[in-house]
């Protein structure tokens, strides 16, 4: 039997003893677990005492009342979130205020239990939070073993490949059965969408090939003297049609004398990815600046846009495989979720670095530095 330590923080003795009574003999089993969970309950009547207990002996689950005599529940939560420990916090609130709910979610509260709660409500919340805790710990154990990454890559890949196929197949079935009538014009939007999905899938396959070649190291690198100015012009020409569509101006500032010993295709991928992102995630009528300079034997490429930007929360995920930032601004932008991850790997082949600086609603700047 595995024991989870539950810390109840509430100034009302009745609530604390209630929780003790409900959870004392409660156990939870999950199909994917060998052992059942049972619970050890510790009580704290103030936030200060609770933090002391968490610091000294730790806790797996914290049931936290917001209204406390000293520091408030939300402050306790903030402190716990700063400790970076895997303690799951559940807020108990008597009247849910939106402000507190938003704050609590931002500080990583797992969920809310409204007060008063029934024994069954508490048990089901505890069941859920235990599962969450177990899965989280299992995932971090898997991560350490390196298994997680491959598993995630495969399942995401399968998802990314099958989704467009399902979408196209679905449209074809509707057409096959003439479900919206005899007139071909009524099917045009479905045909258009199918084309878009096919194009997306083709891009994914191209990106996948780039990535596998990179990872297997099988791609023969052909190193030549590459004229950077020429290559950049080619990349700009490639993206121009899309830029014109969205009325975006591209402003290059490129040192024409730079020559670099490199693989032409690899550099092209770096340039194309950064430029196409700068156009895709821009606003109509916006601007893209591309600058390439050589300073102290380091080639510095910066690509800036005036687009939607990236929030601080999303930045760390940016270079991960298949991480696409999903929000209402990016909903209609197609992408494979591999471009930046490939770009980063390419840059690293040249012992280079790639960094990003972004301000939501103002724009993003990518900076690549490659020593020569």
């Amino acid at each position: 039997m595995e024991k989870l330590k539950v810390l109840v923080v509430d100034d009302e003795p009745g609530i604390r003893s209630g929780v003790v009574r409900i959870l004392k003999n409660y156990t939870i089993g999950f199909p994917f677990m060998e052992e059942d969970f049972s619970f050890d309950i510790i009580e704290a009547e103030t936030g200060e005492i609770a933090l002391e207990i968490i610091e000294n002996e730790g806790a797996d689950i914290v049931l936290l009342d917001n209204k406390l005599p000293g520091i408030q529940g939300i402050d306790v939560l903030e402190k716990i979130s700063k400790m970076r420990i895997d303690t799951a916090v559940m807020m108990i609130t008597s009247y849910a205020s939106l402000d507190i709910a938003v704050k609590a979610t931002n500080f990583g509260a797992y969920n809310f239990v409204p007060k008063p709660f029934t024994p069954d409500e508490l048990k089901s919340s505890i069941e859920n939070i235990s599962k969450h805790l177990f899965l989280k710990r299992m995932t971090s154990a898997m991560k350490e073993e390196g298994k997680q990454i491959r598993f995630q890559f495969l399942s995401v890949l399968s998802h990314e490949l099958k989704s467009p196929l399902n979408a196209i197949e679905g449209y074809l079935k509707i057409m096959e059965e003439k479900q919206v009538g005899e007139n071909i014009d009524d099917y045009m939007s479905m045909i258009d969408r199918s084309m878009v999905r096919i194009k997306g899938m083709r891009n994914l396959i191209i990106d996948m090939l780039d990535l596998t070649r990179l990872e297997s190291g099988k791609k023969k690198r052909k190193l030549h003297e590459v004229e950077i100015h020429q290559l950049a012009t080619l990349a700009i020409d490639t993206i121009k049609p899309m830029a014109i569509q969205h009325n975006i101006t591209i402003k290059p500032d490129i040192d024409e004398s730079i020559v670099m010993e490199a693989d032409h295709d690899e550099l092209e991928i770096i340039f194309n990815n950064l430029l196409s992102n700068a156009v895709k995630y821009n606003r109509d009528g916006g601007e893209v600046r591309i600058s390439i300079q050589k300073i102290n034997n380091v080639v510095t490429l910066t690509v800036s846009d005036t687009g939607i930007g990236i929030s601080d929360d999303d930045l760390p995920k940016l270079f991960e495989e298949f991480s696409r930032i999903k929000n209402s601004d990016t909903r209609n932008i197609s992408g494979t979720g591999l471009g930046l991850s490939i770009t980063k790997k390419m840059v690293e082949l040249y012992n280079g670095t790639i960094t990003v600086d972004s301000k939501p609603n103002f724009g993003t700047t990518f900076t690549v530095k490659m020593p020569i």
Partner: protein
């Protein structure tokens, strides 16, 4: 007298899949409300649906499970279908055949995407006891 049409909530982050599901489910004679994210779905849940069809992988890989849990918590009697394109070949294998799985997957039916529309109609009617 005409009986009021049942309301089906469909949640999927793939706009094409969402469009097609709406098309099919409406053709079965139901009203449909759609959502492209968990957050949108939660807003839509203000109006209690008669049935919900959820994609599994949306913002996170298990978004569908989490949403199913929330729906069952608020509306225990609303049947929930989880649909996914991810299946056994990746080692992700779910079904709701055993009591044990049912204990933690709060859904009534697990479907693979790409199901034929007449099958879908049958499954929905079964869950709505029509």
């Amino acid at each position: 007298m005409l009986e009021e049409k049942k309301l089906v909530l469909i949640v999927d982050d793939d706009p094409d899949y969402l469009f097609q599901m709406k098309h099919h489910v409406e053709s079965f004679g139901f009203n449909v409300v759609t959502a492209e994210s968990v957050a949108e779905a939660e807003k839509a849940l203000v109006n209690k649906p008669d049935l919900a069809i959820l994609d599994l992988m949306m913002e996170t890989q298990d978004a569908g499970f989490v949403l199913a849990y929330k729906i069952k918590r608020d509306y225990p009697d609303v049947p929930v279908i989880i649909a996914s394109a991810v299946t056994s070949e990746t080692g992700l294998n779910f079904n709701l055949d055993t009591e044990q799985d049912k204990k933690w997957i709060k859904a009534d039916l697990y479907l693979e995407k790409g199901i034929r529309s007449d099958q879908l109609h049958r499954e929905i009617s079964k869950l709505l006891k029509l």
